[in-house]
């Protein structure tokens, strides 16, 4: 039984725009329809500094096609790709609002003026927060693309954070767990220890035959920083997940897709979309 109208999500990345409708029912939340519309190379370039939409017409047409195929219009939650924001795990003092502390700590190291930063936080339990900063002009480039396609942006999320929100609800797979959240251009690596998120790192993705070996080193390094580097369980989500999981297993890692579709066939595999974690 549906309680509310389905929420439309539109996720951007360098190679495609992906849309999904999230239904909220008494039984929980679930994504019902998924569609992927490819983008021409160079039409969208994830970056923390400049407007990311380089070919507005191409992105607008992709969004319009997406909305038509999903059969929905109006309000949409936009999901920004990895590589557009700066994130850090912080512990806020008890006498300061977490958002204010996040702004104070994050903006000092940003490569653009502090007043241009949009900052929000995800509570991690206790006084710990995941703080995220993104440049206003970057967000506005995505909001403008949505508006041009006739969609009303009701909120803006970040793909790796959306993935982590869902994965935190699932709980760590074991005492030492590392999540690899793939984007087209960037990859985020998050390490959990004793049930809490300890480390989150993001770096440019170098896809290719050596990617699995390079990421295996990064996984081990991130797990060690979290306090336990011994054979962590590895959960992977995002484009290329199938190949990467296969290669990591071949190299001896305990890797698995972060989630899978259940009982339905979609034109795109659920584990290929990193931000589907919001539906978990």
């Amino acid at each position: 039984m549906g309680l509310l109208r389905p929420r439309l999500y539109a996720g951007f990345d360098a190679t495609a725009v992906v849309g999904a409708t999230l239904a909220r029912t008494l039984g929980g939340r679930r994504f019902e329809r998924l569609r992927r519309v490819p983008l021409a190379s160079g039409a969208l370039v994830p970056s923390p500094l400049d407007g990311n939409v380089r070919d507005a017409d191409v992105v607008r047409e992709a969004l319009q096609r997406l909305a038509a195929e999903l059969g929905t219009r109006g309000a949409v939650s936009l999901v920004l790709p990895d590589g557009t924001a700066r994130a850090a795990i912080l512990e806020a003092p008890g006498d300061v609002a977490p958002a204010d502390f996040a702004r104070f700590r994050l903006t000092a190291g940003l490569p653009y003026p502090a007043h241009e930063a949009l900052v929000d936080v995800l509570p991690l339990g206790g006084r710990r927060i995941l703080a995220v900063a993104v440049r206003r002009s970057v967000v506005e480039s995505y909001e403008a693309a949505a508006a041009a396609a006739g969609l009303v942006s009701e909120r803006v999320e970040l793909a790796p954070v959306a993935a982590l929100e869902g994965l935190s609800r699932l709980g760590p797979a074991s005492a030492s767990t590392v999540d690899v959240i793939l984007g087209d251009a960037f990859v985020s690596i998050a390490a959990w220890a004793e049930g809490e998120l300890r480390v989150l790192r993001s770096r440019r993705r170098e896809a290719g035959p050596e990617e699995a070996a390079r990421l295996q080193i990064e996984i081990a390094r991130t797990a060690r920083l979290a306090g336990d580097g011994l054979d962590p369980r590895v959960r992977v989500a995002g484009p290329g997940v199938g190949t990467l999981v296969r290669e990591l297993r071949r190299l001896g890692a305990a890797a698995e897709p972060a989630w899978r579709s259940q009982g339905e066939t979609h034109p795109i595999e659920a584990e290929e979309i990193p931000w589907l974690g919001v539906g978990l």
Binding site: A88, E143, E154, E157, R203
Partner: protein, 169 residues
């Protein structure tokens, strides 16, 4: 999380129903409070007497219990930490772990219950940055190493937060 350029509060139908219900409940509670005020006044006298007796009992218990850490104890801890981990030693230990292509841009040291460092670091190559992180993770002198945001355009600029354990750990 909402990173919209113009975030707006969302008040849907369910929110409005919830707000209206809350107002009704508040009104009912206020009326109940007024009628209960007289009874409360009568009970207050009895409660005051009970509080006085409870406070006397607490004083007695406190006088028999071992004392918790005082401000003086905390200050003594900080002074001891400062003596065990003076800034030059912390700085020397940290820079000793840095590869040639890594340099320290700034460092703040907080002497609290433990010695906490906030460092801003610059690395000429990703390999040097990764090597520095590996050395920190292997070091027994630096623990709870938490990398902050990494900026990877050209030279890497990043921040780190960690706890200094010195030679004893």
């Amino acid at each position: 999380m909402d990173l919209s350029s113009h975030p707006r509060p969302r008040a849907g139908t369910a929110d409005r129903v919830f707000l209206a219900t809350s107002c009704l409940v508040f009104l009912a509670a206020a009326l109940g409070a007024v009628s209960a005020r007289d009874a409360a006044n009568r009970a207050q006298a009895a409660a005051s007497e009970a509080e006085r007796m409870a406070a006397a009992a607490e004083d007695r218990i406190r006088s028999l219990s071992p004392r918790g850490p005082s401000v003086a104890d905390a200050l003594a801890t900080r002074v001891a930490l400062n003596a065990e981990a003076p800034l030059p030693r912390v700085l020397a230990d940290l820079t000793a772990l840095m590869p040639d292509a890594v340099r320290l841009r700034s460092l703040s040291v907080e002497y609290g219950d433990e010695v906490t460092l906030d460092a801003a670091v610059e690395a000429r190559t990703p390999e040097a940055w990764d090597a520095f992180l590996d050395r920190l993770a292997s070091s027994r002198r630096f623990q709870a190493v938490t990398p902050g945001p990494e900026r990877r355009e050209g030279e890497i600029r990043a921040s780190l937060r960690m706890v200094y354990r010195g030679e004893t750990s």
